[in-house]
């Protein structure tokens, strides 16, 4: 942050320098008064905050450009300093020429985020407003964008201030008990303290419920395809993007690094990643690719595991199994013996995962039954395909799937599982579940004449993969963002820390039998709460916030 210490006047082109445009907006801040730059303008004594049409004059008085400018005198400006905004003709050369003019006369080019930093310094913005601005300018999802705006308006900050207020009350009531218990009476004092404690608990618990570990990944939501080499990830990647991006071949290990493409669904911008095949390897370069893949997988909020059942065993999948997988797709479903091959994966036990078969020939998926299944599914007979007439399949199978309330009424689940016996027989006993797709016909026009190749253990009718998976992604994204999660990592860390200290404090809280220790805990709470509110901000925090800014904000 030291590079910001210099208070000299700054200038930048706020609309970027990347190409010729009709208009470019230049911003100047921190000059002593308009008179100091007056010689460059044909308009003299401009009325503050009004637009003025003016000629821009070079040092020798020659005309450089015709511009519109507004003058915002301190302190009523973005930075709290004297600010000038110029709209000039957006030719890159013209912009460069104007920047040079001012830089030759006491200005320097602004560093990234410097305008906002000055606004923060001059108390025009709070730290969380700055963070909100960052979110607003750099987020990829509508919800993060809204939270950026919320922060900029100071609404989340109000929640934090309220928490801080609750903390101050808590601290004050403890001090009251220690220093003034005779004046207010021991019992009244204790009651006030307990009330304050409960209020703080309520506020921190509410904030804490908005912090979940995955919310950070919602900021720039990543979707990842992972699996062993040659599992068909790249083929599926291209399918989801609807064009050929990854190099596809049948030689294992083609995608050595990862590739990524933006994928907009609704108003959310996802990034889809195709990662290097994960396997044990002695090839250093390949291992490096795998490590990078792990990093991406870790940051992703939605994970698709591709398995080629003909080339893989459960043992080979161990490295992938450390992650929570959203769906598992078995490729090469068109090959003979597919149904038998996938049986060896019965013991894959992802609790929330659904399994699908997929063949690139038909570009059709089937949901398949594999591994532990719910007892109710055993008795429900043929399952109606939930393929709707118009568009993607709802990811809910709740009607016939997960354990309904009837079961929970009847006590624990296990006995029923034992009654119905082991799981494997399901596939054999009930045999293939006939999809009733004849009524509606498959959705995909592709191959509709020949009909999809249907695996024996399919659970329901054919599924069109693209809109189906898009639906699953969106569904999970919406679910995760439903409780208005807090996106900013610094806030998350602070809230977690406060919550942790508070939990300790509650444990130590033995009917106030040691007020000294209690006050020491509250001081720790205070330190972290101040950090959250932004009253104390280590330079490193500021640095990390400002490093994300584009020049001109």
């Amino acid at each position: 942050m030291l590079e910001y210490a210099d208070k000299s006047p700054i200038i930048t082109c706020s609309t970027g320098n990347s190409g010729n445009t009709a208009i470019a907006v230049l911003r100047l801040s921190g000059f002593s008064d308009f008179g100091s730059i007056g010689p460059f303008f044909s308009v003299k004594n401009p009325k503050p905050r009004y637009n003025h049409f003016s000629k821009l004059l070079a040092a020798d008085g020659s005309i450089l450009d015709e511009i519109i400018f507004s003058f915002y005198p301190a302190p009523h400006s973005y930075t709290g300093e004297n600010v000038l905004e110029l709209s000039v003709h957006g030719n890159v050369l013209n912009v460069q020429r104007i920047l040079k003019l001012f830089c030759d006369h006491g200005f320097r080019e602004a560093l990234p985020g410097e305008f906002t930093f000055r606004a923060l310094q001059n108390n025009k913005m709070s730290l969380s407003q700055v963070e909100g601005l960052d979110l607003l300018l750099n987020s990829s999802s509508a919800i993060a964008f809204s939270q950026g705006l919320e922060l900029l308006h100071g609404e989340l900050h109000k929640n934090y201030l309220s928490l801080y207020d609750a903390l101050i009350k808590l601290k004050a009531h403890l001090e009251l008990l220690i220093d003034f218990s005779e004046d207010i009476g021991e019992e009244d004092g204790k009651k006030l303290f307990i009330d304050a404690l409960n209020r703080f608990k309520k506020e921190i618990s509410e904030l804490h419920s908005r912090v979940n570990t995955s919310s950070g990944s919602l900021l720039n939501p990543k979707v990842v395809l992972l699996g062993e080499t040659n599992a068909g990830k790249s083929t599926f990647f291209n399918l989801l993007l609807n064009y050929n991006r990854s190099i596809v071949s049948n030689i294992a290990g083609t995608t050595r690094d990862y590739v990524s493409e933006p994928l907009q669904i609704g108003d959310t911008l996802f990034t889809l990643f195709d990662t290097a095949g994960i396997r044990s390897t002695s090839d250093q370069i390949e291992e490096e690719g795998i490590q990078r893949a792990f990093k991406i997988i870790d940051q992703s909020f939605f994970r698709i595991l591709m398995i080629n059942p003909f080339e893989t065993t459960i043992e080979n999948l161990q490295r992938s199994l450390q992650f929570n997988i959203d769906i598992v797709i078995f490729s090469h479903a068109d090959l003979p013996n597919f149904s038998n091959e996938i049986l060896k994966f019965r013991d894959l036990n992802f609790t929330t995962t659904k399994y699908f078969s997929y063949t690139n020939k038909t570009k059709i998926m089937y949901e398949i039954l594999l591994g532990p299944i719910e007892p109710s599914a055993l008795n429900s007979g043929p399952i109606e395909p939930v393929i709707s007439k118009n568009g993607p399949i709802e990811p809910e199978i709740s009607k016939n799937g997960p354990i309904g309330p009837e079961i929970s009424k009847n006590g624990p689940i296990e006995p029923e599982i034992y009654k119905t016996g082991p799981i494997e027989p399901e596939i054999y006993k009930t045999g293939p579940i006939e999809p009733v797709n004849s009524k509606n016909g498959p959705i995909e026009p592709v191959n509709s004449k020949t009909g999809p190749i249907e695996p024996v253990n399919s659970k329901r009718g054919p599924i069109e993969p693209v809109s189906f998976i898009h639906g699953l992604m969106l569904d999970k994204f919406n679910k995760l963002s439903a409780n208005n999660p807090i996106f900013i990592a610094r806030h998350q860390a602070s809230i977690n820390k406060i919550y942790g200290v508070f939990t300790d404090l509650e444990c130590n809280f033995n009917n106030l039998d040691d007020a000294g220790i209690l006050s020491s805990d509250i001081s720790r709470l205070e330190a972290s709460t101040k950090e959250l509110v932004g009253y104390i901000t280590p330079d490193s925090v500021l640095n990390s916030i400002f490093s994300n800014f584009c020049i001109g904000k």
């Binding site: 001090e175 218990s181 005779e182 039998d513 040691d514 000294g516 220790i517 020491s520």
Partner: protein, 556 residues
């Protein structure tokens, strides 16, 4: 014209400490005090100590101050405050016999041979070269190298009781001139401060049977380190607790227009933490019940102090509201309550030794610095007095670290922050409350006391204390209880020490959350035939208990 090394103007609690400690260095000291009141008199509540303040008294005591000894000699009821809230926040308070306290102070000071006490009014002070020339009303002119001003509320003081206004610093005392007249070069705060006191009641007219009795606690430790733990020097008596009611507050609310603090007659700012009863009436409209502690002002005195009823209301209103309180129905007022407004020195002009930065050799201490409380005054007096002496002798100044003492906290707060109300010490003002406790003052103050280079009984006592402390601290880390020893395991069960599942030291035992560290360590030393000063045992035990938290604080 008689010459002195150090002169002190004002014989209150600040002036008494300043005089006492300055004279310990063998310098020629002059105390100029009011002819109308005794030395170290207590014009407000009859008590020494309290939460935070008890720590100050003990710090002073361990530094060689006088207040703790005087309180022990004159204490008629002792209590431990916050006893149920853990050792870190406990404090001692003693009700004192006011007359006895003053008599004792005079007697102690009268024995100091290098001290002159002059009872007269000061008319003017001038700085001549490197000396101060002090003109008095009847006793002529004095000259002194160092001057300590501890004039309390007397500078430009004005008393209010209802519509009545009298110039003066205290009821029954002659007024002093304004500070600006005494010392034209000193800056006072633009805003005057205000404080108040309740009416005094005739003890014979009070029905104590309607009140809750609060007896003296025989377990409370005396203030002075070298005194026996809790043997009292004078007879102990009780205080009593009663409460205000809706009638009390009703009368006050009806007379808002006649209250000097609400009708604009008093412009000075009073302390929020020591509100007058009219403050309570108007600030807490919904609350009618407030505590009133009925405190005798002495063993022989007929005067009683109703703590919680500070007021400047007119006399007739005072009588009505006092008599609405249970037990005080027939109370006779001996002296009416009043408020006093006074000038306050701008303490941001003072250094950490309380020397006025622009006038070398001039020191200020006590209420004139905008504080409230006898203990705060005494603490400042000690700092000013010792530093004036150290400076005279060309020695290093005494500056107490705020992490190590409440006095240090107060000094730093006073010189670094501007206040808009009288300053009182709370434990909350310290960032290091778990360390600056009452039990370990000897340990905390010893290094500062050494700085004086004096060689009194106290110094020998402190050095011995430290030796014992170091020894016991070592013992508790070396004494082990073994899980494999049946004897130790049975012993733990028998003593209720909890399970013995691994080998632990005595120190680890003391730190167990459910045990009282002092009781455990006391038992473990005496049963092993180890003889330690009980204060050493307390300091070691309580210090071990909080060690982890104190270290945690230091890390942060």
């Amino acid at each position: 014209m008689e010459n002195f090394d150090i002169a002190i103007i004002g014989g209150g609690h600040a002036g008494t400490e300043a005089t006492w400690i300055a004279s310990q260095f063998g310098l020629k000291v002059l105390l100029l005090t009011s002819p109308d009141s005794g030395i170290a008199s207590a014009p407000c509540n009859p008590a020494i100590g309290g939460v935070g303040k008890g720590q100050v008294v003990r710090e002073l005591d361990a530094l060689g101050g006088l207040m703790g000894r005087l309180a022990d000699m004159s204490g008629i009821q002792f209590r431990i405050l916050n006893e149920s809230k853990g050792y870190a926040v406990q404090s001692t308070r003693a009700q004192i016999d006011k007359d006895l306290y003053s008599i004792n102070a005079e007697e102690v000071l009268s024995k100091v041979t290098n001290l002159n006490i002059v009872r007269d009014m000061v008319l003017g002070i001038e700085k001549e070269n490197d000396s101060f020339v002090i003109k008095t009303k009847k006793s002529g002119v004095f000259q002194s190298k160092k001057l300590i001003v501890t004039t309390g509320t007397f500078l430009n003081g004005k008393l209010h009781t209802g519509e009545e206004q009298v110039a003066g610093g205290r009821v029954g005392c002659e007024k002093s001139v304004a500070l600006s007249e005494l010392l034209s070069m000193v800056k006072v705060l633009p805003k005057r401060f205000k404080t108040g006191t309740p009416p005094r009641l005739n003890i014979a007219t009070i029905d104590f049977t309607k009140m809750e009795e609060q007896a003296s606690d025989p377990a409370a430790r005396n203030f002075h380190l070298m005194n026996t733990y809790s043997n009292r020097e004078v007879r102990q008596i009780s205080c009593y607790l009663t409460k205000t009611n809706s009638d009390t507050l009703g009368v006050i609310r009806q007379n808002k227009e006649r209250s000097p603090i609400f009708n604009g007659q008093i412009a000075g700012v009073g302390p929020r933490y020591c509100p007058s009863i009219e403050d309570k009436a108007f600030r807490y409209q919904e609350k009618d019940v407030h505590h009133v502690f009925v405190e005798p002002e002495g063993l022989e005195s007929n005067s009683v102090y109703p703590n919680g009823c500070s007021t400047s209301l007119p006399k007739d209103v005072q009588e009505t509201f006092i008599r609405s309180i249970e037990g005080l129905e027939n109370a006779e007022i001996l002296v009416h309550g009043y408020a006093v407004e006074y000038d306050v020195v701008d303490t941001s002009e003072l250094s950490l030794t309380f020397e006025y930065k622009n006038v070398p050799g001039l020191y200020f201490a006590g209420q004139v610095n905008g504080t409230s409380g006898y203990e705060e005054a005494a603490g400042q007096g000690f700092i000013a007095g010792s530093n004036a002496a150290l400076s005279f002798l060309g020695k290093e100044p005494l500056v107490l670290d705020r992490r190590e003492s409440y006095i240090g906290v107060m000094v730093e707060d006073l010189v670094s922050n501007l206040r808009d109300e009288p300053y009182r010490l709370f434990t909350a003002r310290s960032e290091n409350r778990l360390y600056i406790r009452e039990d370990n003052t000897a340990l905390r103050m010893l290094p500062y006391r050494r700085q004086f280079g004096l060689n009194s009984d106290l110094d020998l006592f402190l050095e011995d204390f430290l030796e014992q402390y170091d020894l016991l601290s070592q013992i508790i880390e070396e004494r082990y209880f073994y899980k494999t020893s049946d004897e130790d395991r049975n012993y733990f069960i028998e003593r209720g020490y909890g399970p013995l599942e691994s080998n632990i030291t005595l120190k680890e035992l003391i730190k167990r959350p459910d045990l009282d560290p002092v009781k455990v360590l006391e038992f473990e030393t005496t049963t092993k035939g180890l003889r330690f000063n009980f204060d050493v045992i307390r300091t070691v035990a309580i210090g071990s208990k909080y060690e982890g938290y104190i270290n945690l604080k230091e890390r942060e």
